[in-house]
Amino acid sequence: MKFIDEYQDSKLARRLARKIAQRSTKTIRLMEFCGGHTHAILRYGIRQLVPRTIELRSGPGCPVCVTASADLDKAIALAKLPGVIITTFGDMIRVPGSYSSLQRVRAEGADVRVVYSTIDAVEIAKANPGNSVIFIGIGFETTAPTVAASILKARHDRARNFYVLSLNKLTPPVMKALLDSGETKLDGIVCPGHVSVIIGSHPYEFIPRDYGVACVISGFEPLDILLCIDRLVEQIERGEPKVEIAYPRGVKPEGNKKARELMDDVFEIGEANWRGIGIVPGSGLKIRGKYEQFDADKVFSVSLKPSREPGGCRCGDVIRGAAIPLECQLFNKVCTPESPVGPCMVSSEGACAAYYQYGSPEGVPGL
């Protein structure tokens, strides 16, 4: 397929990896923020391809994984309300909350439906005027505009029974939170390609400026990722960290202004609760007052028991990049994709699921 196949050439990938090895003298740690990158890196064996000087750590870039248990509990409680139809993206329904999951309450009789697009959720609302249809809005800047568009479509189509529980999150503020904590020292960040299609490259500029950490925006094919790593290594070797775009066929410095306009019309910035990190100010998207009739948080009230995390699960550490999945005692023992304990093993983008599916302890530095 065009714009995919030509970036998967394995011979070229090996030659690029050799070039990276020639250039790389310092021992460095890079974080790939995005769960899509984590999967591509493991799937194409990029950990094994790059020299041992380069460690790749997964970050908090899997939207399902970073959804806090308390927020999942709220979604599950909403699903139990009479007349409610919950709509959400696929992985969300299997993630265990503190006491149940959307999948389990569906088996118990709740109406929970997986949708491919927010458009489908609005269509379900239009087809079921006697029900309240709540879309569980997860995702980063890539997806948030589509959630905004669903609210605008519901208003346009007079779907007054459509609501959104906005758990949408922003990328640069959580990067700042991780860098401020200093828990995991980073030399460079593989910045998320499709988040950047929307936000552009400017929002990352504080990272090299204030933290001295290199930032390169990457595409998702193996050659894209190797090009990104090459750029990061060059910046770090030279001691000149900056923001670079290694995915210019998709990302412009200014991003997608139209998508951001729609997002800004519907959402305002607030705090968000991240699994493993906690409340991060300015990292969440809340529905503005003028659209509050669509805001599930304003329209419905549910009482929740205190949330709790699964015992022994290190998803929180994995999300922060403080641990890799192989360091978790439960990994591949009691926690597998068939019987997942935490969300990082549930989601197809979770680091634990990626390590389980493609990973091997060989080639993982530090083990």
């Binding site: 397929m1 065009k2 714009f3 995919i4 030509e6 970036y7 070229l12 030659r15 690029l16 050799r18 070039k19 020639q22 995005c34 769960g35 899509g36 870039g61 899997c62 939207p63 399902v64 993206f89 992985d91 491919y116 697009s117 927010t118 458009i119 489908d120 997860i138 995702g139 980063f140 890539t142 997806t143 505009p145 589509t146 568009a149 998320p192 390609g193 499709h194 988040v195 299609v197 929307i198 998702f220 050659l223 894209d224 090009l227 090459d230 290694a246 995915y247 210019p248 066929r249 998709g250 990302v251 412009k252 997608n256 139209k258 998508a259 729609l262 989601s347 983008e349």
Partner: protein, 75 residues
């Protein structure tokens, strides 16, 4: 979740477009990419085109990759 794949626009009807990838057709919203034209490739994410693929940049990146790889052969 942040997956987006390049699909080709075959026709446009208002803020909707008919797209094609690998022989499969799909209707997508182009509300975020009003500049998209028939023949363009757009990045499709959960039913929406989130950006237009810059074909000239795509070629440049491939050229750059080839050049970099050939340098690794020389040294």
């Amino acid at each position: 979740m942040c997956l987006a794949i390049p699909v080709k626009i075959v026709s446009i009807d208002g803020d909707q477009a008919e797209t094609e990838i690998g022989g499969v057709r799909r209707r997508v919203s182009i509300v975020f990419t009003p500049e998209a034209r028939v023949g363009d490739y757009v990045l499709l994410h959960t039913g929406y085109a989130i950006g237009v693929v810059d074909e000239a940049e795509a070629e440049e990146t491939l050229k750059l990759l080839e050049e970099m790889a050939s340098l690794s052969e020389v040294h």
